[in-house]
């Protein structure tokens, strides 16, 4: 590995949240591997607790703020000024806590419940924000050893990553491009994808899965039409609807989609030369074997012409 290309070490607090412990453990694993490769040290927040998720903030925003505030306060005590979380839901909760703290009418009640010292000098960012804004696509490109040159990948951002715009303060709300640029830096071709931010049905998967069947089906169909071989995501819920529920979608639409849906960090890992097993690729419901075959064939061809520059 070309050590000299490693960017200088950055250390951030890491909030993985419950999804990444269970359903989306491959998002966690791959994020850690990729950050390590990019010279970012992730320090898990000690004794972190639930962010409150949808139930807490739909019951009482202050409850949600206090639950997430605890995690922020611990991270701040540890001396961090940035906490990164790959889960957009967790990010929303963490940012919500900061917003409540900054609201002079709510601060007192918030601190009263929190019962911990908290200055609010900490920032919550997503994994994409860390890759795109802090590390930058140039550093990512320099780290690539196995470019995804023969793959056509569309990024699917979902609803939360860049919205609402003044709350998330990241990327364009209608036409986000951070994942596009990262995928391009990995060498993939990235067709224009009009459904980047269309709704996947979110948690309706549990209560009314025909809605998810319909909406997710449109997204898969569009990915197919623009010639994508795979979809890149950065949200556990999006991944679940597009991957786990793909069989349901096929039943609903009477179609035969077979579209691997990988986390952006899994694509990054592959391009950085990490073994698929270490990225949890085997956990996908829609298998990515076809992609891996293409990549390994590509690798052999490169070898035969003398290898690619890292």
């Amino acid at each position: 590995m070309p050590v000299e290309l490693k960017p200088k070490k950055t250390t951030v607090a890491y909030y993985q949240g419950c999804s990444l412990e269970q359903m989306a453990s491959e998002f966690d694993v791959s994020t850690r591997v990729v950050c390590d490769a990019l010279g970012v040290e992730l320090v898990e927040i000690p004794d972190w607790s639930c962010c409150g998720s949808t139930p807490a903030h739909s019951y009482d925003p202050l409850l949600s703020a206090a639950l997430s505030g605890r995690n922020l306060a611990i991270a701040e005590q540890q001396g961090f000024d940035v906490v990164m979380t790959p889960c957009p839901g967790c990010l929303k909760a963490l940012k919500g806590a900061l917003k409540v703290f900054k609201d002079p009418n709510k601060r007192e009640a918030f601190l009263e419940i929190l019962q911990m010292p908290f200055q609010g000098n900490i920032q919550a960012v997503s994994n994409l924000q860390l890759y795109f804004e802090t590390i930058g696509t140039e550093a990512i490109r320099n780290r690539v050893t196995k470019p995804l040159t023969s793959l056509s990948i569309v990024p699917y951002y979902g609803c939360l990553i860049s919205r609402p715009p003044d709350f998330m303060q990241f990327d364009d709300p209608e036409n986000p491009i951070s994942m596009d640029r990262i995928l391009e830096a990995l060498g993939a071709s990235v067709p224009e994808f009009p459904f980047k931010t269309e709704c996947c049905g979110a948690t309706y998967g549990v209560t009314r899965n025909e809605i998810v069947g319909k909406l997710t089906g449109r997204i898969l169909d569009m990915a197919n039409r623009v010639g994508a071989q795979a979809i890149a995501v950065s949200c556990p819920l999006c991944q679940q609807n597009l991957d786990l529920r793909q069989a349901q979608v096929n039943r609903y639409w009477r179609r035969d989609f077979h579209m691997p849906v990988l986390y952006i960090s899994q694509f990054m890992g592959l391009a950085f030369g990490v073994e698929p097993e270490s990225l949890g690729i085997d956990k996908l419901f829609v298998e990515a074997d076809s992609l891996l075959d293409i990549l390994s064939r590509e690798g052999e061809r490169d070898q035969s012409v003398g290898g690619k520059m890292a």
Partner: protein, 652 residues
């Protein structure tokens, strides 16, 4: 001084909540008041006569009227006292209606406040001096900035009235947006057929001086006597020689220059004449694309030009014009729809603006009047129009209605069905705004005779599917989501203030609203005037407008100028600053604060420096008065003594 006080009842407007009799009785106790009464309608003919009778009978030297706002009737009463032989400035008004009776129902408190206001007016009046205005001659030439249909109409009317007109247009040709339109609602007459003759008229009027490719650089002076610097931008073609033959355009090898007249649906040559009916019909070189300027070689146009008009060394030229009045008619610009990411943010070639579609429809347009898709040149079958793009949408900072788009998309849909009878036209709209004469009938024709399908609802997204566009929106009447596949999507892009409107306003010292539209002096009663005397407005620069309204305002502005010029001189307002040379120490701080450049320094014979006010430039803002350390500069009719007299009463 002998002062008379008249407390108006204004019917029950004032007397309903103010004891006017009591106010009059109390007034008799104030210093110098020799007469006080309460009257039912003081502004009426008998009311004014009553004031005049009492002035004569009682030998009054000053009059206070306690009534409505001075904005309403101060001029009326000033004239009334003047007719009775008093100087018009020996009059004061106390506002006991807008400031008292209309804003509270507590009669006791109101009466007390009215008494105090009357007392203040009396106290001030005791320091009033007769003031006299002077006369300055009017330069009877008019400058018109912007030659769209509003500016053209104003110029023709002024010219017909015998005035010398200086017309400044920033583009190479006059005509404005109307010259780009195909047909016009609500009569579907051809835009260039009705505008063209007016444009030709402009070029043939002996008393109209046209500066095209020009902008106003600076403005100084005041009503009746403005001095204007105009920057004539270098066109690199000597327009005195150029015959507009177009030889150079045909031979120019640089073909990729932008073509703003065709709204960038086509490209132009580096040397270009914007359209066949252009006035003036002269060529101009776009430096950024000309090979002579970019590569240092070419010179084709210079060689080909039969009259030797090409001049690569031409420089911008500054010309000075002196005029007595200015009409601003700088029009509007189109909202940039690329902020709508959900509509593709300008990335889809088949999602176009309303003005681009006008060019597509136009026989002189990029496709010769055949409706084609910009992406592949094919004829579209399904065409969707979307209303209110950049209008009535606070999220993009445009909460106002653009006023013309409902009408122009109805027109464009009718024309589309005319050109392509097999096409399907859909209009997504919020409400239909068609209040003009014959306008609603026109929209109905689109729906009923031309079979245009109107869908009430917003469009949430436009995205490509294959080589067509899918328009996804709501039908709020049916309460369902709809998707329409289209070959072409026309956005009814709204109207916004023209680029650079703010800078021009600052040069002219006129106000503009938060969206950049120029402010009229009164939204109902003075729609053509600005708050700067001698500067008038016409057309869409004052707010979104269609052609009939723009033309009407152009004529109205011309009429205002002619009324102003009907006199040979104008009376200056004597309520201006005046320097007391004995106390002025020559620090000249007043010069620094005056926003109108109305103060200059002068040297007396003994060598001392004094400030001097140019009465005709001073706007009476009083900044100098507040700044002057020895209080040597005083605003007439609002001197320190007068204001202090009022304050003393208030604080007593």
């Amino acid at each position: 001084m002998r002062i008379g006080v008249f407390v108006c009842q204004c019917g029950t407007n004032i007397a309903g909540t103010v004891d006017t009799e009591a106010v009059a009785r109390r007034a008799m106790e104030y210093a110098d008041v020799v007469y006080a009464t309460s009257y039912v309608y003081t502004c009426s003919e008998p009311g004014q006569q009553e004031i005049q009778r009492r002035i004569k009978e009682m030998n009054l030297q000053g009059v206070v009227v306690a009534a409505c706002s001075p904005r309403m009737h101060e001029p009326t009463f000033r004239r009334a006292v003047e007719r009775a032989g008093l100087n018009r400035y020996m009059f004061e008004m106390a506002n006991i209606r807008e400031h008292v009776s209309w804003i509270s129902t507590d009669k006791e408190a109101n009466t007390r406040k009215a008494m105090e206001l009357v007392h203040m007016a009396v106290a001030k009046l005791r320091f009033n001096q007769p003031l006299f205005s002077s006369k300055v001659p009017i330069n009877k030439r008019v400058l018109i900035i912007g030659a769209g249909v509003a500016g053209i109409q104003a110029a023709l009317d002024c010219s017909d009235g015998g005035l010398d007109v200086v017309l400044v247009e920033k583009n190479p040709s006059i005509g404005g947006k109307m010259a780009q339109l195909d047909k016009t609602f609500p009569t579907i007459d051809c835009s260039s057929c009705i505008l063209g003759p007016k444009m030709v008229d402009i070029s043939q009027k002996e008393n109209v001086t046209l500066h095209a490719c020009s902008e106003v650089e600076s403005v100084s002076g005041y009503v009746g006597n403005f001095k204007v610097q105009i920057r004539k931008k270098a066109t690199y073609v000597n327009w005195n020689a150029c015959t507009g033959c177009g030889e150079c355009v045909r031979k120019c090898p640089s073909r990729k220059a932008p073509d703003p007249f065709n709204e960038h649906l086509a490209t132009a040559r580096a040397i270009n004449i914007p359209f066949p009916q252009a006035i003036p019909k002269k060529a101009a070189i776009n430096r950024d694309y000309c090979l002579h300027f970019t590569k240092g070689k070419c010179g084709v146009c210079k060689k080909i030009c039969p009259v030797n008009a090409i001049d690569y060394d031409m420089q911008d030229e500054l010309v000075s014009e002196e005029v007595g009045a200015i009409i601003v008619a700088t029009g509007f610009d189109l909202f940039d729809h690329s902020v709508y990411g959900e509509y593709g943010g300008g990335r889809y070639p088949d999602v176009i603006s309303g003005l681009q579609y006008e060019r597509i429809l136009s026989a002189s347009g990029p496709f010769g009047g055949h409706i084609r898709r910009p992406s592949n040149g094919r004829e579209p079958r399904d065409i969707v129009f979307i209303a209110c793009v950049g209008s009535r949408d606070a999220s993009v900072g445009r909460p106002y209605c653009s006023g013309v788009c409902c009408m122009y998309i109805a027109k464009q849909a009718i024309l589309t069905r005319d050109h392509l009878p097999d096409s399907n036209c859909y209009v997504f709209y919020m409400d239909i705004r068609s209040p003009g004469k014959n306008y609603d009938e026109f929209v109905r024709r689109a729906q009923e005779e031309y079979g245009v399908q109107y869908i009430r609802g917003r469009v949430g997204k436009i995205y490509p599917r294959g080589d067509r566009m899918v328009v996804q929106g709501a039908d709020t009447l049916l309460g369902i989501q709809v998707e329409v596949e289209a070959d072409l999507v026309v956005l009814a892009t709204g109207v916004e203030a023209s680029a650079g409107a703010g800078e021009l306003a600052e040069k002219l010292r006129i106000s503009y609203d938060q969206y950049g539209f120029y402010m009229e002096s009164h939204p109902k009663l003075r729609p053509v005037e600005t708050n700067t005397a001698g500067v008038f407005l016409a057309g869409a620069c004052q707010g979104p407008k269609d052609i009939p309204a723009s033309v009407a305002q152009g004529s109205a502005a011309a009429a205002k100028v002619q009324a102003l010029f009907a006199r040979d001189a104008i009376e200056t307002d004597p309520q201006v600053a005046l320097v007391n040379e004995r106390t002025c120490v020559g620090c000249l701080k007043c010069i620094m604060v005056c926003p109108f450049g109305a103060i200059q320094s002068k040297t007396l014979r003994d060598g001392s420096i004094k400030a001097e006010v140019l009465a005709s430039v001073c706007q009476g803002c009083g900044l100098c008065n507040a700044t002057c350390p020895p209080k040597a500069i005083q605003l007439q009719h609002a001197t320190d003594n007068q204001i202090l007299a009022e304050l003393n009463i208030l604080c007593a």
